[in-house]
């Protein structure tokens, strides 16, 4: 019941955004909707996150689902807060009109609703439907500015992801073929039933299913070499949407892969993990190379998302409890730090009116708060302590060493050094120096507030690991290794 309400609240908020109340009213509804949505997500997830599974009608929320739901709830809340002033500036400068803003909020809320649906359902089929729906809805957000480049990005996004979704559906057909004889009735695609009966599934079918499912959803998660849509979509979308796509949308596909991985590892130990290792390493290599040569701020950040998704895939691929812990921590760290840097980039690119990094100079001098936040965000996504991505990367590397994969650990460390160098060398020159442009800090409490909220969250998880949080992560590691609470 509560899960149904959780999915319906953002949908309702989206419909309310259609009320003709003028721009002020629209913003008020969006903030109220964001608050209501966050509140229901938190209320719904309090008991699952500590281990009590919600298991009613089509819903199934264990601590893994609850973890992703809480992240999505938090990130979409912060994104909606940040969007308000960002959109108002776009509106005042004539890049968006009132109708387009209304449309933005409607699609954004529907987008949030489909994301929550993806994480909260029991059946693989419904997870697939949720992921497909997120693509369709967010295509409009990518193509928000109806200019040439945004249209191109949206076109590429929807076509490539449709292929991915089709392949994943074939994976589900194979999964069903493997399980329909083993699990009777309607439950043959339910994740918990699949895990419980994994030992009896046909291993050949499951191998084929793993290939199709991981390639299909890997396209959506932005794993190289299937990542082509990602830099375009992330760079052309409005910055709040980029943050949301990076911080939450990629997780949806990753979540599907994780659920499948759990089943597949019981049937064919080592098969799905090797596929994931391959995609993970190629993602890291591609991302490192493109981060070094990037000229466009937001494209560079998009490649950093490819890098982080690659790291998560590698953590799953190693598969020891330590590495799985690292992978889950990386999910959390990435979902907090990436919206943070995208919002900073949003402030900067909106005021400077360019995304080319060589044209942006003197941010700290003219925009004090954004400059400060960008220092923190830059260090955070580059993976410097005391920010959480550092911890995640360290955990995954130590997982590799613990599993005896020394070559992999060495390679990871080497690539991460290049990524660090690339990000720092590209971001920090923008902050120093002086500029002749007329720029000034946007005066908005909500903008500053949402950035501050993300910085505080990042610092908290980078510095502290309370007993309670560790228990949650341990519970998820147990779920990922095929156990039940």
């Amino acid at each position: 019941m509560i899960a149904t309400i959780m999915v319906l609240v953002p949908l309702l908020a989206g419909v309310l955004c259609l009320l003709p109340l003028g721009t002020k009213g629209l913003f008020r509804i969006s903030i109220a909707g964001a608050l209501a949505s966050l509140a229901t997500v938190v209320y719904c997830c309090i008991s699952p996150i500590t281990g009590t599974v919600i298991d009613t009608s089509i819903w199934y929320i264990d601590s893994l689902s609850a973890f992703f739901l809480l992240i999505s709830g938090f990130v979409s809340f912060v994104t909606l807060l940040y969007s308000k002033d960002y959109l108002r500036t776009e509106w005042e400068e004539g890049r968006l009109n009132a109708k387009e803003m209304r449309w933005f909020y409607l699609t954004m809320f529907v987008f949030v609703s489909t994301i929550l649906l993806t994480f909260a359902v029991r059946s693989a089929a419904l997870t697939w439907i949720g992921i497909g729906a997120t693509t369709l809805v967010s295509a409009f957000l990518v193509g928000m500015y109806k200019d040439e480049s945004a249209t191109e990005a949206a076109w590429k996004y929807i076509l490539l992801c449709s292929v991915g979704i089709t392949l994943a559906l074939f994976g589900i057909a194979l999964l069903y073929a493997a399980s329909s004889g083993v699990i009777p009735g309607d439950g043959s695609l339910d994740w918990p039933a699949l895990v419980a009966n994994a030992a009896d599934l046909n291993p050949v079918f499951m191998k084929f299913a793993a290939i199709f499912f991981i390639i299909g959803l890997g396209t959506k998660a932005g794993l190289a070499p299937l990542h082509n849509w990602l830099p375009d979509a992330h760079s052309q979308a409005p910055s709040p949407v980029s943050g949301m796509m990076s911080g939450v949308l990629l997780n949806c596909a990753m979540y599907g892969i994780m659920r499948f991985y759990t089943v597949s590892e019981i049937v064919n130990p080592g098969f799905a993990s090797n596929v994931l290792l391959f995609f993970g390493i190629s993602s890291l290599l591609v991302a490192a190379a493109f981060i070094l040569i990037s000229k466009d701020f937001k494209r560079m950040l998009a490649y950093s998302s490819v890098e982080n998704m690659g790291l998560i895939a590698i953590g799953l691929g190693i598969g020891t409890p330590l590495a799985l812990f690292g992978a889950m921590f990386q999910v959390l760290a990435h979902s907090i730090c990436k919206p943070l840097i995208f919002f900073c980039a949003g402030n900067i690119t909106q005021i400077y009116k360019t995304r080319t990094m060589s044209l942006i100079r003197g941010v700290t001098e003219k925009m004090r708060f954004t400059g400060f936040a960008t220092v923190a965000a830059g260090l955070a996504i580059a993976g410097a302590p005391p920010f959480p991505l550092f911890v995640g990367e360290l955990l995954i590397i130590s997982g590799a060493i613990g599993a005896g994969m020394y070559v992999l650990a060495g390679l990871l460390a080497l690539i991460l050094v290049f990524v660090f160098a690339g990000l720092v060398l590209n971001i920090f020159p923008m902050l120093s120096g002086t500029t002749d442009r007329e720029v000034s800090e946007p005066v908005s409490l909500l903008r500053k507030g949402s950035l501050a909220l993300l910085i505080v969250a990042a610092l908290f998880f980078g510095l502290f690991m309370p007993e309670m949080v560790r228990d949650v992560f341990d519970g998820m590691v147990l779920i990922l290794s095929g156990g039940t609470i």
């Binding site: 059946s123 497909g132 057909a173």
Partner: protein, 220 residues
């Protein structure tokens, strides 16, 4: 109908679907391409109908009806409407010529036989030959998306790959749970509507739906 006749019919329809795919790869004009897609969807409908008849599965009858409604009638109508409205020039832009496309398609078919071998031997349904064909159709659909430069031909490639998917899903397990099929059809339909909207937008901002113009976003 007896067992042998239905299983022969099933094989024939599946082979005809592959043939339509190969013919589509050899086509240089848009209108015939859309007609080939209609033809392939008709064969898919016939295939589903035969399977439904021989297995006596009411759900597959529904699926056949939906395939007919959506893929034979609705989507081709939409594509033709888009073509008429935005005055697409009928010529296709190919980045690989016809002989090359044919050779690549043949290679993909052989490749599908090669990779699906371990899967085929575990199956005992009458439709197991169709599985290999469905692999080939999916791969050729993706080849078409990769080597044809007009927006509409990319979409037809995607739709043909989806036809292959449905063929495979039925061959594997006599169809998926009904909710999945409904979701899949819904997904295809909404995707087509959105793709249509963006095709209009491409036309408006580029004065053409040649997607070579859509290759500007990249690293310098």
């Amino acid at each position: 109908m007896d067992q042998i006749l239905t299983s022969n019919l099933i094989d024939i329809f599946a082979v005809c679907m592959l043939l339509s795919s190969v013919l589509a790869m050899a086509s240089v004009r848009m209108r015939p391409l859309i007609r080939l897609f209609i033809l392939q969807s008709v064969f898919l409908t016939a295939f589903e109908f035969t399977v439904a008849y021989s297995q006596n599965e009411p759900e597959i009858y529904v699926m056949a009806a939906m395939t007919f409604g959506i893929k034979v009638l609705l989507i081709p109508k939409m594509l033709q409407y888009i073509m008429a409205r935005i005055k697409v020039d009928d010529e296709m832009a190919l980045s690989v010529g016809i002989p090359g496309s044919m050779l690549l398609s043949a290679a993909l078919i052989i490749f599908s036989y090669f990779v699906s071998e371990p899967l085929i031997i575990t199956l005992d349904t009458a439709e197991r030959n169709s599985l290999v064909l469905s692999f080939s159709i999916m791969l050729i659909g993706m080849l078409m998306m990769a080597t044809r430069r007009k927006a509409i031909s990319e979409v037809v490639g995607l739709l043909m790959a989806e036809n292959g998917l449905f063929l495979g899903a039925i061959a594997l397990s006599n169809g998926m749970p009904f909710i999945v099929e409904l979701g899949a059809f819904f997904d295809v339909l909404i995707a087509m509507i959105i793709i249509g909207i963006f095709a209009f937008r491409i036309n408006k901002s580029f004065d053409s739906v040649d997607t070579t113009l859509l290759r500007r976003l990249k690293e310098e």
